[in-house]
């Protein structure tokens, strides 16, 4: 497919240490568009190998508002079901622009390895130097080894290496959307990380019309968002304690007008604007995890510090928070470190109140939104948070699909596709 995608489908057989590529056919894009829908088709094809499929949506990496989304589709070890988890930040866009819009992982690497995707080249590289390291050191190592600051990294920490149910796959340095045990799945594959940097280009069918529609969508988004920002805009009304005293800046993901994530500084004053400390604090994106860690009367600063510990260990913070004692920071930190080595019953996928399609999607707060709209967002590569907040204008999506790919889709076609991934 030459429009809206570049490159090919990558198949990685970790047992053999081999990669192969296959054309992303027009027929597949015409019928399934992308994102979770194509992921699911690939999952079914490789079902016997129990694959982990990583993909990008049709609009991922463009100027369609909220289009940061990459999607992981795999059997969750927590409930045995095939689940979709969101990948945010710049990871989805970089994956797509690296020339591998879809990646199928299966098998188990004999020795720890990591996958490096760039310039339509897939390198399966040894990971002995980073196996045993936390996720922050892993990201630093890969960026230094490959010489690029903007490489995006999905990695596991100690909990994933130990193949525990409470493991979480971490995007760059941050706890994000994996609440379904993907970290354990990658650990079972002895795959420390997937790293990617994209320098490709996405062509469209009608450039002028595409630009006009993107601008119209952005205008509508801005008027609906009304300047909303920070994690308080994710969870209006939640008690965020002393967040204001550590808030640094609010930031967005690739192509998103809504800076719904808040960076907090607790190792230096939050007012510091210069590049001073290398590790001044933590980006709070996983607001469910953060709120869980704030339970039992912890301050926002201590909760953020513990969220950093979880991210470094690749430990899902909601499950871990339930195991923490009524104790101070140091004891809680020590307990988290032990939880990255000790199996416990996590009780399934963490429960988030009002989660939309909890049977199919990793709960990525805030939740809400119409089921079919959220599912369609996972196909198109639009962040489910954004879709829940702003809404998904299906008529505008139809126009954007036609302008970018030339494909004419009816509302019923799109809703049918959405329903096919949540049945």
């Amino acid at each position: 497919m030459d429009l809206m995608y570049t490159g090919s489908i990558l198949i990685v057989d970790l047992s053999q240490g081999e990669t192969s590529e296959r054309e992303l056919s027009d027929a597949l894009v015409q019928s399934r568009l992308g994102g979770a829908a194509i992921n699911l088709s690939l999952y079914e094809e490789f079902k016997d190998q129990d694959p982990v499929v990583i993909g990008s949506g049709l609009f991922t990496g463009t100027m369609v508002p909220g289009c940061a989304l990459g999607i992981v589709t795999a059997r969750s070890p927590l409930n045995g079901k095939v689940m979709h988890a969101p990948l945010v930040n710049y990871l989805g866009a970089e994956l797509k622009l690296a020339g591998f819009p879809f990646v199928v992982l299966h098998g188990r690497s004999e020795a720890p390895s990591y996958l490096w995707l760039h310039d339509e080249i897939a390198d399966l590289l040894p990971a002995q130097a980073i196996w045993g390291q936390d996720t922050w050191k892993t990201v630093d190592h890969i960026r230094e080894e490959q010489g690029e600051e903007r490489i995006q990294v999905l990695s596991i920490g100690k909990a994933g290496e130990n193949r525990l149910d409470q493991a979480m796959a971490v995007v760059d340095y941050w706890s994000e959307g994996d609440k379904v045990g993907l970290g354990k799945r990658l650990g079972e594959m002895s795959l420390k990380a997937v790293a990617t940097r994209g320098m490709g280009e996405l062509e469209v069918d009608d450039p002028d019309r595409t630009l006009e529609l993107c601008r119209r969508a952005m205008g509508a988004a801005r008027s609906r968002l009304k300047g909303a920002k920070g994690i308080e805009s994710l969870v209006p009304g939640a008690d965020l304690g002393g967040l204001a005293s550590i808030r640094h800046r609010d930031i967005a993901c690739s192509g998103c007008p809504w800076p719904c994530r808040t960076f907090v500084k607790y190792n230096e004053p939050p007012t510091v604007l210069k590049e001073e400390l290398k590790e001044p604090g933590m980006l709070i994106s996983d607001v469910s995890g953060f709120l869980s860690l704030m339970d039992k009367g912890r301050s926002a600063a201590d909760a953020a510090r513990l969220l950093e510990v979880c991210a470094r260990l690749g430990l899902e913070p909601m499950s871990a928070a339930e195991q923490l004692p009524l104790a101070g920071f140091e004891e809680s930190k020590a307990r988290l470190e032990s939880l990255a080595s000790t199996a416990f019953d996590v009780g399934g996928v963490p429960s988030v109140e009002g989660a939309t399609c909890a049977e199919a999607f990793s709960p990525f707060a805030p939740n809400g939104g119409e089921r079919e709209e959220i599912a369609l967002a996972y196909v198109l590569g639009i962040c489910p948070r954004y879709a829940a907040k702003v809404g998904l204008d299906i008529e505008l999506c139809k126009e954007l699909i036609e302008a970018t790919t030339g494909l004419k889709k009816e509302r019923e076609d799109l809703l049918g596709l959405a329903n096919s991934i949540i049945r």
Partner: protein, 111 residues
């Protein structure tokens, strides 16, 4: 009219890069833009830089704006090298600049 940068409004979305590249080549990429986002995500240090027609760079840093003269190198590894190889900003030849039009946070403006 020159493009103004209010860096503390930047939210790091990168839409300016996409819009600039799109205007030049009508494809989605961040690789052809005259404006570039600088991201140091672990420090949450980010800003934008613009290449001017005389090859000077406007560096929009959180602590303030700075002009880096053509031929000078950045003193802090700010990653300006890729933009030096690209076309300079022509402010979209008199139209409202695409980066300004798309910027959702009013980090970029004109006047």
């Amino acid at each position: 009219m020159p493009i103004r940068i209010d860096v503390l409004r930047c939210i790091g979305c990168g839409l300016c890069e996409l819009a600039c590249s799109y205007r030049r080549e009508q494809v989605f990429t961040a690789m052809r833009s005259s404006i570039m986002l600088h991201l140091d995500d672990k420090r949450n240090y980010f800003g934008v830089m613009i290449k001017l027609p005389n090859d000077d760079l406007v560096l929009g840093r959180p602590e303030g704006l700075q002009i880096q003269l053509a031929g000078q190198s950045s003193d802090d590894g700010a990653g300006a090298k890729p933009i030096l190889l690209r076309e300079a900003c022509d402010e979209c030849a008199g139209d409202r600049p695409h980066c300004v039009a798309i910027c959702p946070s009013e980090c970029l403006s004109q006047g």
